[in-house]
């Protein structure tokens, strides 16, 4: 529980953080809420020589409506998101997901940017970000770029981020009026991370104009269940059509397996939780 010795520096601005990242290369790690990085350091699974603290940069902590998007600063805490009226009014699945992360202490410190940068396969955010078709803005000393959520997550603790890049913003397209969304989760009982987390969005009454279903926890990489989406989009969404659609929940997916949930059981749970999410908003 004792980490290696490391240097610590607090960045005063995004520009400052980017310069520090550039100067230190792969020897440095960014520290935001610390809820993924510090436990790994305490177990000496991660031994950075330097920590750049970005947790007190005001320009990274906000939730705003801008140009048809809800924009969230990367260092915004889970608790801030859970209690945002703007988010709740458009994308309640984000509110629900935030409230299911860890416990109150974790939600007070942990940040959305930190969570997705860490890319734990059982983290809650990726399902909602994929379902919402979020964009992720990252910056480096060389400039900025925007990555779709679908392209951001590469696999187990792996993302599209380069060593000198910092996530600055998560952008969520504001859905059409009348769009419903929800996030449901089957928790790993010890860690309370997701064994299966399912985010679903449905718009349109009677016939679905748009359906998005995404999973976290099931496999090493979060994914959109396009089989379910295609089966329901343009069709009636009801208990029967949902039951039929969710059978494809893990098609083409290689599920994780551990002593809490085998591959078989994860496949089964993915169907159950997709069904629960869709039935709740059908």
């Amino acid at each position: 529980m004792i980490p290696n010795a490391f240097e610590y520096q607090r960045a005063s601005s995004v520009e400052d953080a980017l310069n520090l990242l550039h100067e230190n290369g792969d020897e440095a790690k960014l520290l935001a809420g610390g809820h993924s990085l510090l436990p790994a350091m305490r177990l000496r699974l991660n031994e950075p020589e330097k920590l750049i603290d970005i947790s007190r940069i005001p320009e990274l902590r906000y939730i705003e409506e801008r140009d048809g998007f809800i924009t969230i600063g990367a260092a915004t805490t889970h608790d801030d998101i859970e209690h945002s009226d703007l988010i709740k009014s458009h994308l309640p699945m984000m509110t629900e997901a935030a409230g299911l992360i860890g416990d109150q202490q974790v939600r007070n410190k942990g940040t959305i940017g930190g969570s997705i940068a860490h890319a734990d396969p059982a983290a809650d955010w990726p399902a909602s970000l994929l379902a919402a078709e979020a964009e992720i803005t990252v910056k480096s000393v060389n400039g900025s770029r925007t990555i779709s959520a679908a392209n951001f997550f590469h696999g187990l603790y792996m993302t599209d981020l380069a060593e000198n890049e910092l996530i600055t913003e998560i952008r969520l397209p504001i859905p059409a009026a009348g769009t419903r969304s929800t996030y449901v989760k089957f928790m790993q009982p010890a860690s309370r991370f997701a064994i299966v987390g399912c985010a679903a969005i449905v718009s349109g009454n009677g016939t679905a104009d748009k359906v998005r279903v995404a999973f976290t926890g099931v496999s090493a990489k979060p994914y959109r269940a396009t089989g379910i989406e295609n089966a329901l989009q343009g069709n009636a969404v009801n208990a029967d059509s949902i039951a039929s659609a969710v059978t494809s929940a893990t098609d083409g997916i290689d599920p994780l397996s551990d002593h809490f949930a085998s591959e078989d059981y994860r496949r089964h749970l993915a169907k159950v939780f997709a069904g629960r999410a869709l039935n709740a908003i059908a």
Binding site: M1, I2, P189, A190, H259
Partner: protein, 796 residues
């Protein structure tokens, strides 16, 4: 005053605990203190070919590095075992050496190979990473039954088939005959899984050798400081006991895991002697998972026979008990004398035989964990009874009521002699079950359950009744059973000149609330305010002797020792009072804090007698000054609390997740000093018992790696997993101790586990499920519900 016994007095110790002002071992900082970090094998079974500590020794800030060879060369002994259970054929128990640090082989992940001592714990840990060990990894065995098969990897060469002992109790022939002639026999093969204790405070120890007076002080997280002193000084380090002081300050939970004498305690003491500086070691949480003695881990086959009326006619149990890599202090006693002897339960079973093989494996040593043997016995009995009820299509509550031992008070009626060596002190079993059934509303529940099933919902109810042997124990009895120590308790009651009272108790408190309960007894008996009483414990220098806290023994044994000293104070006080009041001693009575001449208003208060005893100017002839008495109390029997627990669950048909909807308990722990503390003990015990039923379990892979070695991987029960517990009590006083108390520390853990499992099996009745191994994780429950073809599950 005079009415404190039976009151829910708020716990006086909580002020310091809740405000963060407790004084724990790791809080203690001594001048020139150094910090130890133990490099552990991290492999379950490996030969040590070579170890190179040169880089670690050269690391800045490192004071010393010692290896297993250094320890062996110094001529000290290994860690001893405190209980001997021999083989049935008379062969002596296999008791291989348990060195403080190993030199030749690691036999489980937690075996220490070297200790680095440095100016800070950070430096010690960094330097430990520089130690190079050349290991030759060997095959490991982790399952007790598999370890006894020919060809299994051997943990110790001197223990063939990995057996430490085998043991039988009861009448094997009569039991075989009873089962052969039974109308119905219910058979269950199961594992009572291994648990990791997880006290909130990790273990910690500071060794402090003072060269100027050649004395040693050990500060340690112990439930049992005097026994640790005895074992460490006389058996391990060979230093005179009177040169050793052991202090066990505030201790943050034990649940049994801090009873035992651990290698680290002797190691820091030995290191301090070498360095002439204090040496502190505190476990990291990962080390706690790996090295705190684990609990349970039995592989059992049990058969229970019934006659046509549903009366139990015989019980046979064959158990392989996993002892881990070495014998921990009380390890051999737990699966034998704390398990086999409890298989009478509350029932009149006329023939019982139990066979237990104690087995070494490449795992963490196993020893007493809250309940210690009795939860395993209760689980065995109560699962068999529920399964038998299912098989015989009778009501599980009725089956129990039919087989209960009739009431006996142990005063006018004799105690109940069991088929497995014990004599129960007093018991009245039907009322606790009837009361629990009334609390849960049993008949109404069965109607609700039937309706729910029609809706496709899976509700279940599970019963468990239990008896435990607490207040351990009569020294002569346990001596005959293989204990290498007595099991009495000591207490000194010192009335100070101002009438304030200091009590020195050999019972150690690490969450139980002794500072309140014991003070209530003393203040009540003396008729003085609670705040005038101070309970001192946990320091071998202050307390004459102690056998520690475990087996729900503090009040029954330690409390009885206090009462003996109180009686001596009152008796001597009467002599002083008689002199002062110019009355005959026969005419003096003590009540409400004063000695009074019977039938008069002439009296003298407690404080005045105390002052007189220390300022004896006007004093009775032949009476010594002072008012200070010590007593040792050795009980004449165990105490036998009992109770009935009922769980109500709902199983999620889609996921297999179990929701514990209600938990009802009616316990009989004899007389109660502080109802709130007893309720708290029952509540905490139930939570731990539910933990075993639904959540907890140590998992090793085939190579002996502990996969459940963190809170991310090992599921502890949490508040939101549990309903509000509904608890009630009956009172059948213990007939053989002065307070009439039986003990409440383990009851909740013992009773609750089978109730929860039985409830889940009941909920799954539509699926014809007979048994699921604990913990009943959602996946296991879901699998049990899946259709089976030719014995294999079929998945959609």
């Amino acid at each position: 005053m005079g009415n404190l016994i039976g009151q829910s007095v708020k716990r006086v110790e909580d002020q310091r605990f809740i405000t963060g002002k407790g004084n724990y071992t790791d809080d203690i900082v001594l001048p020139r203190m150094t910090y130890g970090y133990i490099l552990r094998g991290n492999m379950a079974h490996a030969k040590i070919n070579d170890i190179d500590v040169s880089a670690a020794k050269a690391h800045p800030g490192v004071v010393a590095v010692f290896t297993g060879k250094d320890i062996a060369d110094s001529g000290v002994n290994g860690i001893p075992c405190g209980w001997q259970v021999d083989f049935k054929n008379g062969d002596t128990m296999k008791e291989p050496a348990h060195p403080m640090l190993v030199a030749d082989k690691v036999r489980y992940m937690g075996d220490g190979v070297a200790i680095v001592i440095a100016e800070s714990k950070e430096i010690a840990k960094d330097a430990a990473e520089l130690i190079v060990v050349d290991y030759e990894e060997l095959d490991a065995v982790v399952n007790a039954k598999e370890a006894t098969q020919e060809g299994a990897p051997l943990v110790h060469d001197e223990a063939p088939l990995n057996k430490s002992f085998d043991w039988g109790l009861g009448d094997a022939e009569a039991t075989a005959e009873a089962l052969a002639n039974a109308h119905h026999v219910t058979t269950l093969e199961f594992t009572n899984q291994r648990l990791i204790p997880n006290a909130i405070e990790p273990r910690s120890a500071i060794g402090h050798y003072e060269v100027q007076n050649d004395r040693y002080t050990l500060y340690t997280t112990s439930q049992n400081p005097h026994l640790t002193r005895l074992l460490m000084s006389a058996f391990v380090l060979g230093i005179p006991e009177h040169k050793v002081r052991v202090v066990s300050p505030d201790v943050g939970g034990g649940f049994g895991s801090k009873i035992f004498h651990y290698a680290e305690e002797a190691l820091v003491t030995w290191c301090s002697k070498q360095l002439e500086r204090p040496v502190k070691w505190t476990a990291e949480r990962s080390e706690s998972f790996m090295t705190d003695a684990h609990g349970r881990d039995h592989v059992t086959k049990a058969e229970m026979g019934f006659d046509a009326d549903g009366k139990i006619v015989g019980l046979r149990a064959i158990t392989y008990a996993n002892l881990g890599a070495y014998l921990s202090t009380f390890a051999p006693a737990v699966p034998t004398y704390l398990h086999g002897t409890l298989l009478q339960g509350l029932y009149t079973t006329p023939a019982i035989y139990v066979d237990v093989t104690g087995v070494f494996t490449h795992t963490t040593p196993v020893d007493a964990y809250r309940g210690a043997g009795r939860p395993e016995a209760t689980y065995l009995l109560e699962r068999l009874l529920d399964l038998a009820a299912l098989e015989m299509k009778v009501d599980p509550a009725e089956l129990r009521l039919k087989n209960f031992i009739p009431p006996f008070d142990g005063v006018d009626e004799p105690g109940y002699q069991t088929q497995v060596a014990l004599q129960y002190d007093s018991g009245n079993y039907e009322p606790v079950l009837k009361r629990a059934m009334e609390m849960v509303g049993y008949e109404a529940f069965r109607e609700e359950q039937a309706k729910a099933r029609e809706e496709g919902r899976l509700l279940g109810i599970g019963f468990s009744t239990y008896i435990e042997a607490c207040g351990i124990a009569p020294s002569a009895v346990v001596g005959a059973l293989g204990a290498r120590a007595g099991l009495f308790e000591s207490a000194q009651v010192r009335v100070q000149p101002t009438g304030k009272v200091s009590v020195y108790s050999g019972s150690h408190s690490h969450g139980q609330g002794h500072e309140t309960t014991f003070a209530q007894v003393v203040a009540d008996k003396f008729g003085i305010p609670l705040e005038d009483v101070e309970i001192v414990h946990g320091d071998s220098e202050a307390v004459a002797f102690g056998m520690g806290t475990y087996g729900s023994r503090s009040l029954a044994v330690g409390g009885s020792a206090i009462v003996k000293s109180i009686d001596k104070v009152i008796e001597k006080g009467a002599k002083i009072a008689a002199h002062k009041l110019e009355a005959a001693i026969e005419d003096i009575e003590f009540a409400e804090g004063k000695w009074t001449v019977k039938g008069t208003d002439k009296s003298i208060a407690f404080g005045d007698v105390a002052l007189t005893a220390y300022v004896p100017h006007d004093y009775p002839e032949g009476v010594e000054p002072g008012l200070d008495f010590s007593s040792f109390y050795d009980p004449t029997n165990f105490t036998y609390p009992f109770g009935a627990h009922i769980a109500v669950v709902e199983v999620d048909r889609d996921t297999g997740k179990v929701e514990l909807k209600r938990f009802v308990a009616c316990d009989d722990v004899g007389n109660v000093i502080n109802p709130m503390i007893v309720d708290g003990q029952i509540h905490g015990g139930i939570a731990q018992g539910v933990g075993q039923a639904l959540f907890e379990g140590a998992i090793y892979d085939e190579s002996g790696q502990l996969l459940s070695g963190s809170y991310m991987d090992y599921t502890m029960p949490r508040a939101d997993d549990l309903p509000d517990f509904e608890v009630d009590r009956k009172v059948t006083p213990c007939p053989h101790n002065p307070l009439g108390v039986k003990g409440a520390g383990e009851a909740g853990t013992i009773g609750s586990t089978p109730a929860v499992v039985n409830a889940v099996i009941d909920a799954l009745a539509p699926f014809h499920v007979k048994d699921i191994d604990m913990p009943l994780t959602p996946e296991r429950v879901w699998r049990a519900m899946q259709p089976k073809t030719n014995g294999r599950e079929v998945h959609s």
